[in-house]
Symmetry: C2
Amino acid sequence: MPRSPATPPRPARSAPEKDVSARVSALSARLKARGLKHSAVRDVILDEFFRAGTHVSIEQLLERVRKREPATGYSTVYRTLRLLVESGDATERDFGGAHALFEPADSHHHDHVVCVECGAVREFEEKAIEELQEKVARRLGFRITSHRLELYGLCSSCAAAGRAGRAP
Amino acid sequence: MPRSPATPPRPARSAPEKDVSARVSALSARLKARGLKHSAVRDVILDEFFRAGTHVSIEQLLERVRKREPATGYSTVYRTLRLLVESGDATERDFGGAHALFEPADSHHHDHVVCVECGAVREFEEKAIEELQEKVARRLGFRITSHRLELYGLCSSCAAAGRAGRAP
DNA sequence: TTTTCTGCAAACCATTTGCAGTTAG
DNA sequence: CTAACTGCAAATGGTTTGCAGAAAA
């Protein structure tokens, strides 16, 4: 039962202002077309979600959102994220930790490397691996619809920290 | 949130008698050395677990065990499996379904292909993929300690059934 | 007004654990 | 007799859902 740290310390890249607001308003329009209503809280959730740019848990996102909308409840964030997943704008990931993590759904497929020490998540793409997966599937007579590839280990910082010990 | 069927219909290979009993008694001895006691119920659980030969959930295993030891409780199976995982004799898997699945820990590493229709699980080994994973890790500065690769799709039977429709 | 949104609290549910009685050694 | 084992029932803990009031359209 691998347990990943509750709060990945490394903030990672965050999306540039323009990208985020454009994305949010486009999405907002799409939601409206679905007959859904507009709301301030939801806007903040969307904004913070796409601004985070990394894999965030509901709790982490809630924390960010509450800085702007203090009364926000867990369920609202939960339901909004669910909405995004259903509309295909977010992807739910389970890296074995306690909580599920969510990330904006990019158009391009990618897999993940997860640091078991600090929880940092990096993405990668390796065409050759995908091809080999297809080959294996063919060999076994399977028609693959999706896959899941995650590498677990130590990121360079944590590996270095480990070698050096934790002395100040 | 992928939901895999509760009861994989395909029984898959089951280990030959001799292998199982040998394995069970060896394990039993090892447990005794740990200061643990011998018990009829536990023996049945071990026997059924290694006899199953495939990925089984606690519930599935419990069902088999109860045919021989009707009074057996869920927690006992749970605790025995936990014991096996800790001793390195079993591996816990999570293919996204409701329950965790367990399989005897073989010495050789392997990955899985899972049929999303019937829940069948096949194992495979692809050295080339492992090597590419190492390459990717090196590129990103990670020291990999483990990984997880699962292919999801339709097995040949389910694919065929799908093409033919469900007519009798 | 009507429909959707929200926060809160309760419900879910697989998994864990506490407990008291049973059993192996 | 002591320590481990067992079944049962209750506790956990993240995730979902029911509900009544608030807010859009």
